[in-house]
């Protein structure tokens, strides 16, 4: 949807926040992949990335047992080497109480998707009830999806009111607002949705790229659009908003590219797991594998790490 043909409400918003130079963004992010990270800085980046992972399982076949092993892995990603625990585990609301048994009271937080994840297509009352239930069961963080239907039809008031209602329902819990960038279609829309969300959430709450349930997920491009929105919002209001790309980040090298984007766009203030997270399930294995490579000096075989034994 080009800005000129957008609904009046969107055009008015673009007058205020500006649009995105698509070519410029893509050239900028292509540069991030050319940085050379060696030795100590590489190990620093890999360890930082591990500490930023929201280790995720969001499948219909999740069981308490599977969540238990996920939690153990989050607490202690590998049996040798000094590898930090992940930031959080991310599960469905029904699994929060099971996760609590394993990571409750530790530094690993419990994040729960809520609000009719991944589509968000349920009555507001139901979505809020889900948030209340997850928080009551012990979720430290809530990952909500925005009402893309409301956004795309230009009903910004409704979209923001719903986010505000979820903020209230969260109480003490941190909120992560999933924009589902693949369904927003353009960088302009991603920037607009980021601003609409950032205006109603609290300092330290997150905006998040995607659910991981659609065809396209977090890319350096849409990550950059959101990072720049956070930067512009921070410079205008002084309110720091955190960021979480999710889905499609599978390799350690990709994770380092994302961290370089954070470092060069928002600076060191955002290089910690209070301000930046990775939503991922397979990424942790590769991070640990690369850390082991740095520790031992030998390229590692996949069967020494959980999951991903298909190469054997």
């Amino acid at each position: 949807m080009p800005a000129a043909k957008a609904p009046t409400s969107l055009r008015r918003l673009f007058d205020e926040i500006g649009t995105v130079d698509q070519v410029g963004i893509e050239e900028r992010v292509a540069k991030f992949t050319t940085r050379s990270l060696k030795k100590n800085s590489k190990v620093f980046g890999l360890r930082l990335a591990v500490s930023m992972v929201d280790l995720t399982t969001l499948e219909g076949k999740d069981t308490p047992g599977k969540v238990a092993s996920l939690c153990q892995k989050a607490l202690r990603p590998h049996d040798v080497g000094d590898i930090p625990p992940t930031a959080a585990v991310c599960v469905y609301p029904a699994m929060v109480k099971h996760a609590r048994k394993h990571v409750g009271g530790t530094q690993v937080k419990i994040a729960s998707v809520a609000t009719a994840f991944p589509s968000g297509q349920a009555p507001l009352k139901t979505r809020l009830a889900e948030v209340h239930a997850a928080v009551k069961d012990g979720a430290d963080e809530i990952d909500m999806v925005i009402n893309r239907g409301a956004f795309l039809s230009g009903e910004f008031g409704r979209m923001q009111d719903e986010i505000a209602a979820v903020v209230e329902a969260c109480g003490q819990a941190t909120l992560k607002v999933i924009l589902e960038v693949s369904e927003l279609e353009t960088y302009d829309n991603i920037r607009a949705a980021s601003f609409l969300a950032m205006r109603v959430i609290r300092p330290g709450d997150f905006i998040k790229t995607s659910t991981g349930k659609t065809s396209s997920n977090a890319t350096l491009g849409n990550n950059q659009v959101m990072l720049e929105a956070i930067r512009d919002h921070f410079l205008a209001t002084g309110i720091p908003i955190a960021m979480k790309p999710a889905g499609g980040i599978r390799t350690a090298k990709q994770a380092l590219h994302f961290l370089i984007a954070v470092k060069e766009t928002l600076g060191d203030e955002w290089l910690n797991n209070r301000r930046y997270r990775f939503g991922a399930s397979a990424l942790l294995n590769d991070l640990v594998r690369q850390l082991e490579k740095e520790r031992t000096g030998a390229y590692q075989a996949p069967w020494n790490f959980s999951e991903a034994t298909e190469g054997y």
Partner: protein, 289 residues
């Protein structure tokens, strides 16, 4: 048309079914026996080796699942591809100073070696597998399985025949391999890659690298994903490879490159060469008493 500009080839390495330059962007100048510049050969690095292992890991399960007969057909197809370009191969072998006759003899022996292993593909299992007598109510039998990914390091002498003699027994049984070609005469391996690409062999089963031995050998030694090392190397490299292999627990089968090796000999081929690079699996199957 008498003053046509020469169209010279950029030699590239065959990795993962594609023709690559080294990720380092480096090349080594290759001269012919008279010292005239011939071509720039990619100077691969340990990162190229890592990428090649990843490519082999992707190809592995598919190649191992092919029927023995199909593997044999594909290897025979490789011989057909080599036969069609045998004059070009002989020229590549002669670059190192071998006479036309010597080069032609090496190419002919190489093609015959490929045909030899194409024949073995559906026969080694009958020779190497067994039904074992046991004193209980079990049908006990042993079958062979490929090891996985194998590192192959070719010697400088007989740049085509030695290469083929090391590659074929490894892949006949369903292994995938990452090969470091001759240091001084890498060009036959570049041509062989082009023939492998047109032989119906799935991409990634054979990955051919060219580069400096001193840079690549330590990574061959320590890479945990490689399950065996096979080749002909000097004493110093043998030590490095054995130390690394001990650390990562891999099988080592190394010939002494400092001594003359008769690659033409019949003893350099056969089921024993295949046996060196497979695993045996024994099954106890209960039968009615």
């Amino acid at each position: 048309m008498s003053h046509r500009l020469p169209i010279s080839k950029t030699p590239k390495c065959y990795v993962g079914g594609a023709f690559i330059r080294s990720e380092s962007g480096r090349v080594t100048e290759l001269n012919d026996a008279s010292g005239t510049f011939f071509a720039n050969i990619p100077q691969c690095t340990r990162k190229d080796l890592r990428n090649a292992v990843e490519a082999a890991a992707k190809a592995g399960p598919g190649w191992a699942k092919r029927s023995a007969f199909n593997r044999g057909q594909i290897l025979y197809r490789l011989a057909e591809m080599m036969e069609a370009r045998s004059i070009e191969l002989a020229k590549a072998v002669a670059l190192g100073g071998a006479s036309q006759a010597q080069a032609a003899r090496e190419v002919a022996a190489s093609i015959e070696r490929v045909v030899h292993y194409a024949g073995w593909a559906d026969k080694y299992e009958q020779i190497l597998g067994s039904v074992n007598p046991v004193a209980s109510a079990h049908f006990n039998f042993t079958v062979t399985e490929p090891m996985g990914i194998i590192g192959v390091i070719a010697p400088d002498d007989s740049p085509l025949l030695a290469l083929v003699s090391l590659i074929l027994p490894a892949i006949t049984s369903g292994n995938c391999i990452v090969v470091l070609a001759s240091n001084t005469q890498p060009y036959p391996s570049i041509l062989l890659g082009e023939m492998l690409a047109t032989s119906d062999l799935p991409g990634g089963v054979v990955n051919l690298l060219t580069g400096l031995r001193s840079e690549m050998v330590p990574t061959f030694a320590t890479h945990e994903h490689l399950r065996a090392l096979s080749g002909a190397v000097n004493a110093e490299d043998r030590k490095t490879l054995k130390l690394g292999a001990a650390e990562s627990v891999k099988r080592v089968r190394l010939l002494k490159a400092e001594q003359p090796i008769d690659w033409f000999a019949d003893t350099m081929q056969g089921a024993e060469e295949i046996r060196a690079l497979i695993e045996f699996k024994t099954t106890w199957h209960p039968v009615g008493a």
